[in-house]
């Protein structure tokens, strides 16, 4: 009963049942310093609730913690993808000019692909497609210039429509 009053959880709870707890876990620090070390069921319960908290904390996105730029960058899909050569990504068509499809896949630039002969009419604005990337930005240094000339475009090969079948390619399109 002492355990239940402190932790607000019924004594008969098991590990398999999900606990409904608020995100603020301040009661633990208040209790730990004032009491003698727990034994028996109380110790086991405390250990178990620790594991539960750690597991749950990873599942729930913690909106209160401000992540640093370095951490955001390191875990971003663009960096996790690595070199762009021959990576399969998902893009979305945002503009169409007759047979040219302008596809945005989450990088700095979009890519422009020709409408394929197969299922050509299904490629409309807002459709998600699969691409094989070749380069994130098309640049080249020409003779006589100090800096590279950039085409302000990425380079990719259109593989086909995004169907709900097989191994998901690296999802780079962020849902906003």
């Amino acid at each position: 009963s002492r355990g239940s009053r402190r932790y607000n959880v019924p004594l008969c709870s098991r590990s398999s049942r999900p606990h409904r707890r608020p995100l603020v876990f301040t009661y633990r620090s208040a209790g730990a310093t004032a009491e003698k070390p727990k034994s028996g069921f109380a110790a086991a319960f405390e250990l178990h609730s620790d594991l539960q908290q750690h597991g749950r904390r990873r599942q729930i996105p913690d909106v209160r913690v401000v992540r640093s730029f370095a951490s955001l960058l390191r875990h971003s899909p663009l960096v996790q993808m690595g070199p762009a050569k021959d990576k399969v990504v998902v893009g979305k068509i945002f503009h169409i000019v007759q047979d040219d499809l302008y596809i945005d896949f989450g990088a700095k630039f979009h890519c422009v692909c020709k409408r394929p002969a197969v299922d050509g009419d299904r490629y409309q604005r807002g459709v998600r497609v699969r691409l094989r990337l070749l380069d994130v930005e098309l640049t080249a240094r020409f003779l006589g210039s100090n800096t590279d000339t950039t085409l302000l475009e990425a380079d990719a090969v259109l593989l086909g429509l995004m169907d709900s079948r097989e191994a998901t390619p690296k999802e780079k399109e962020r849902d906003q």
């Binding site: 730029f69 590279d148 950039t150």
Partner: protein, 274 residues
């Protein structure tokens, strides 16, 4: 003699309105009671200009706070990151003067340091807000055809001006001839992209510096930030980042103008909003 010294001391202060009033009063009196009269004249002009002090309160109150318009709540690091503001061009396109603003280079693509961008964006938005608060004319300039409609709509929504077409030679430097005498030049120019269509620096940056017009500009890793008064290092090529900038500038300017109306009502100054 005392009056002359007093006037000289006053001219050191920046109150042009008081000087002619005091000069006329002091010249009417004699020099016998010069000092007494001068102090009495000051006391009278200070208390009689109530409308003047109200006007000054409206103008000086925002300058006492570092973030009077609470612009830091408009954006966060996560918003900038999700709008892809940190992505720069390839290493070969890099401008040497942008190197202090870069976080690093990953697989030949420059990454812009968003911590610096946050501070510089805050300063730029704060300056824009103060200019809009004081009724300044703001001009949006961008030569990216992909975003020219967006920039023009943004300018229209906040009641300011935009120039997203070919920039003729003397628009700022030769304005009285090209537009007519007595034309008012912009008080702030905001560049959503500092390059023109052939990847050279936009002429308006140099011309604004010549005409003493402050500039706020989004500088990508291939731009020259040196002449821009408030550079904002960031991506200027992705639609998501340009939409974010336009949204922030629009909200800033509208907030500043609303605040001005509110302050005018608060301090009871009528008909002074421009």
């Amino acid at each position: 003699m005392a009056a002359g010294a007093f006037l000289k001391a006053l001219s050191g202060l920046n109150c042009p309105r008081l000087l002619p009033v005091l000069a006329s009063r002091l010249s009417n009196r004699g020099y016998v009671n010069g000092q007494l009269y001068s102090t009495a004249a000051v006391a009278q002009t200070m208390t009689s200009s109530d409308s003047l002090s109200g006007n000054n309160k409206v103008l000086t109150e925002p300058l006492k706070h570092p973030d009077f318009f609470h612009l830091s709540e408009l954006f966060s690091l996560k918003d900038l990151f999700e709008a892809r503001v940190h992505l720069g061009h390839k290493k070969g396109c890099r401008h040497r003067l942008m190197e202090p603003y870069l976080f690093g280079c990953r697989l030949e693509q420059d990454i812009i340091d968003l911590d610096q961008t946050m501070e510089l964006l805050q300063q730029a938005l704060n300056f824009t807000a103060h200019v809009a608060y004081r009724g300044g004319v703001i001009l949006f300039v961008s030569r990216r055809r992909q975003f020219c409609h967006l920039v023009e709509c943004t300018a229209q929504d906040c009641g300011e001006y935009a120039h997203t077409r070919y920039w003729r030679g003397g628009l700022l430097t030769n304005a009285p001839i090209q537009y007519g005498p007595g034309v008012r030049l912009p008080d702030l120019i905001i560049f959503l992209s500092t390059l023109n269509n052939v990847f050279q620096q936009h002429v308006a940056i140099r011309d604004a510096a010549k005409m003493n017009i402050p500039t706020v500009g989004v500088v990508d890793s291939n731009c020259n930030p040196s002449l821009v008064t408030f550079p904002i290092p960031g991506n200027d090529d992705s639609p998501s980042s340009v939409e974010l900038y336009c949204k922030l500038f629009k909200m800033t300017i509208n907030r500043a103008k609303d605040k001005r109306k509110q302050m005018n009502l608060l301090y009871g100054v009528k008909g002074s909003s421009s």
